[in-house]
Amino acid sequence: MTMLRQIVIVSLLGLRTLRRRLWQSLVIVVGMACVTGVLLSMLSMAEGMHQAALNYGDPRAAIVVSRATIFENQSAIPRDQARIILNAPGIARASDGSPLSDTSAMTFLPVEMSRNDAQGFIILRSFGKEGQALRPTFHMVAGRMFRPGTHELIAGVKAPFQFKGMALGDKVILPDGEWPIVGTFATGDLLDAQLVGDTETVMQSIRHKAYTTITARLASPSAFAAFRTALTTNPLLAVDVMRLPDWNAMTSADTSAFFHLAIYGIGVILAIGALFGCFNTMYAAVESRSNEIATLRALGYGGFAIAVSILLEAAILSVAGGLIGASIAWTLFDGVQSGFGSDVFTLIVSPAMIATAILWAIAVALLGGILPSIQAARWTVSDALRAR
């Protein structure tokens, strides 16, 4: 109890004299604000992109791709194989008893990016008969649905954010001429930055002889095993079957790993810089307070209490900086729409991410403050008085 009291008293005394060391102390605050600000700003993008990739499509769905493909556009499922897959066991049924499974073609269309003149690629995807039913969140926002069999497309609401010429009424040039965008839709996921048309019509136009993927809603989560076994053991098929969330996780894993590597790399280097700044500040603080510390020691306060109070001061300054950095990142980026390549997503600065950043700030403060605090604790009264 007395130890705790000592710590409280010594810490309060330290904080009261903080004003005299204002500029020095700001080194820690500014340093940590930079570290957490940069870390969270960059993470907001990586997290936003990663979450969007994971939450793409209906989690009840399973996806069928040709064997050993790791990118969707590499997959090709011939028509004869598709017929078997569409009616495989384990697929949920629509009210008319037909299986809730659908063929899709997918390709990248070269287009101009909206914010600079860079060449970008929008995803052109297609719906078959059940395409809409397999996406429960799909709804038209403006215009109307494309008519199957005609050269019409619909565009996601976020497509114009990333690409030029993708708004309602614009025309997309395909080999069969100009395809008007007759409607705008929203699903709330990555599909919102894509173009959608009718499977058979689109395939004819882009000269695809095989479907790209087949998606099916599972009758129940446990139906997956039966569905997969039926397809992977059939010698007529050469396909891989995955739950859609697993496929999403697999296809986004490397991109996500790359961004996390880059961001935490940058974060660690910045944190090392801030750590030395913290060390320097606390070292100077201990020196400038040597009189005070000597007096405290003479009055019988323990070295431990003094050490803890120094660490506490470093931590408080660091957390203050961390909170400033976090609030800047949160204000600037949380909920902001952003795009990378073909994808449009929302940047995220979540409370959990802020907590992680604050933990970084505390860790830096403790690492940077430990040596100065040990030095302060070791001082005898005479040492401290002489240090002046």
């Binding site: 500029w23 050993a68 060449q119 882009i206 590597l261 090392i272 750590l275």
Partner: protein, 386 residues
Amino acid sequence: MKYLPLVWAALRRKPIRTLVTFLSVTAAFTLFGLMIGLNDTFHKLQERAPANRIWTVGRFGDRALPIAVAHRIARIPGIKRVSVMSYLQGYVGDPKNIAGALMADDVYGDIFTDQLTPEGWESIRRDHTSVTMSRQQAEHFHLKVGDTYTLIAPQSVKADGSNVWTFKVGHISEDVPQVPNGMIAGSYDYYDRSMPLAQQGTIAEVDFIVADPAKAAALSQQIDRLFANSAHPTHTTPEKALFAVNNFFGGMDVGALTHGIAIIGLLMILFLIGNVIAQSVRERRAEFAALKTIGFSDAKLIALVAIEAALPCIAGAVCGVLIAAALSDQLPKVMPRTFGIPPPVMSPAVYMSALVSACLLALVSTALPALRLRRQDIAAVLSGRA
């Protein structure tokens, strides 16, 4: 020069403080080096992309263009050399261990002299059943020259009904920034003859050289118009446009991103150095007053302080960029296999901009203490009143 001992003494007054300043500057310049180096590398890639090289692929991801497309392109006036290639995609052993090979014809190596070494290309020309690979790929698959590379390519079933492709590793070359994830190349001729008759004569890409680089864009458009309404529409891009800096990274502004991060790092330590210098000047007020008394001008004193600030900055800048170079060398080893960036290269330009930034940092951080130094009242300081 004769004042160097004076600066040295100032730096040694608080060795720990000098060391810590140096270390934090080093950290900031490690980041600076990586960021500016990366930006520099992206720009170099575009600069180095030959202006006369053009790539044609299937417009809608068609990887089975008829080879006639290449023959037709070769007949267009102004086109010098034409090569074709295809891909094998699959895995080695475990389906998760993705692998592939670029199957290039005998001309390809003459056009892409920058992707692999001439010896590498020569090795697959000499032995069509072999592959040549970059070091990164060889290390990943634990292969050396003479080993067998066994690739399972489910979508490329050979005429004999098998999808297992075996190659002898004929040559291994060093990695280049153009191909951040490394590459493996085999012979198109061998690939084509192994495929079933119905699928022979198909290609994934036509790559060619034009006589006049100024016409690259016009020729590209001409080619795409030519095939626009055929059974195989094409998408043709001059390599300079393909490697445009902003195309590279998802359409993001690489320059703004890298400079932004580098500058934040510098601002962070600017605050630190400013404080250290201010502190150091404050502690030595009497010393400076004495120097003024014996005839040192204000300018000279300020110069001394600026040099005192600049030394750890410059040392830190050089060390930081050196560390950045060492880190970049390790980058290919930790980068994910299907998403990568070219490792930053620390060119002399990066060192130069680091040095300039370090000097600026020192000058700016000296500014405030310098003002205080000028206003200093010698008598007051020496008598202990200030």
